[in-house]
Amino acid sequence: MQYAEPIDRLIKALSRLPGVGEKSATRIALFILNSRNEYADELAASVAGLKEKVALCSGCMTFSDADPCRICANPARDAHTICVVSDFKDMVAIEGMGGYRGSYHVLHGNLAPLKGVGPDEIRIKELLGRVEADGVKEVILATGFDPEGESTSVYLARLLKPCGVKITRIASGIPVGSFVEYMDGATLGRAMEGRKEVVA
């Protein structure tokens, strides 16, 4: 059926969200339509404010409403250690783990031949600038283990090498809670490579 134009417009806008198809978009739109006015206003205001108030931290390139961001501005965090992640979501995951006390660098993507994303389109230049300027001691490469994440980490390692900093890569291997017999050869190989001495 044909919806009134404003509803149709909202459905179209919503269905561009990740994971939202036209059906869900319609459901969400009708939910908003049926909710109290205050809710719709608040929703609209928070969407409108988002792009205005949130920008990239000039240090670590993360999304932040302050510059520098809370992590870069926190004197208790170790600014000499930079954990490089592909995506804001990855930073949230590592931060959620709670044990990491260094700083971050968000690339906002990986090198991606099939998508045509080249080195100048992710935040590599900014990373190099930081490492060259800030007395950084260690760069932890925490991009993913898919081909794009892997090759991005190797590419970064190559670029960073002349800076003389310690470059490490997060370990990959058998996930916590799973079994050796179910692992594929590549995962097992990496787990074997990254083995550590057991201190008893």
Binding site: G19, L111, V117, D146, P147, S151, A186, T187
Partner: protein, 259 residues
Amino acid sequence: MKRGLYKAHAVVLNSIDYGESDRILAFFTKEHGKIKGIAKGARRSRKRFVGNLDPLCHIKLNYYCGGGELARVEDASLIEGFHNLRTDIERLSNACYILELVSEMTREGQVFPRVYGMLAGFLRMMDSGAGADGCLLRFFEIRLLNAIGFMPCIDRCVVCNKPIDGAANGAGRLNGFSSEKGGIVCGGCPAGGLLPISPGTARLLSTATKFDEDKLTRLVPGAAFTDESERILYDFIKFQIGKELKTKKFMHKLKNAGF
């Protein structure tokens, strides 16, 4: 395709994250040519797919065809992972280039077992270190064009059909390559916008379609081959598909990165 469960040998051409945890994939299969499918929960479930659905992976595939646009991927087991291609951006981009090329040059429903074999074979060669100079990519291009029926005419003039015999003038002289005409043009035929190609390059490309795949790395290209063949083949491919390839642009960006 008829509804039902299918088994296939496949190379993963592309993979796009979709929704919360799904992936939309393109495969080139030995049995059914190019297919598009969705793997539900592929980013969450470690059990069924692990890393087997990343682009480049050579896999055994079970999928269900329900009559819709996308087949449903039931499970995938790895035949070859080509791990050396995943850790080096230059090699990865070369490998992705042949994936994109196959993806763009073929349509769903066209079955080309040879193309499947070529894909796996060339990825294997590249994984073991061949192809850094780009010649292997050119050989792949010409063999692909040949296998799918798009072979440009490179052993005689595409306009007058006369052989090119190395004469200094007239019909025996190789004048250049025309994507629009679909091959090389002799000195006796009128044609504009020709790209330069030497007789040696034309001959080597022609030979490269006839050699056994595993002997290709023995072919020794002349000095002009690398540049000439890259230019004419890419021009011809662009002419066929009507657009630039993302991986080609990527290679350009990589080369010209500002650091």
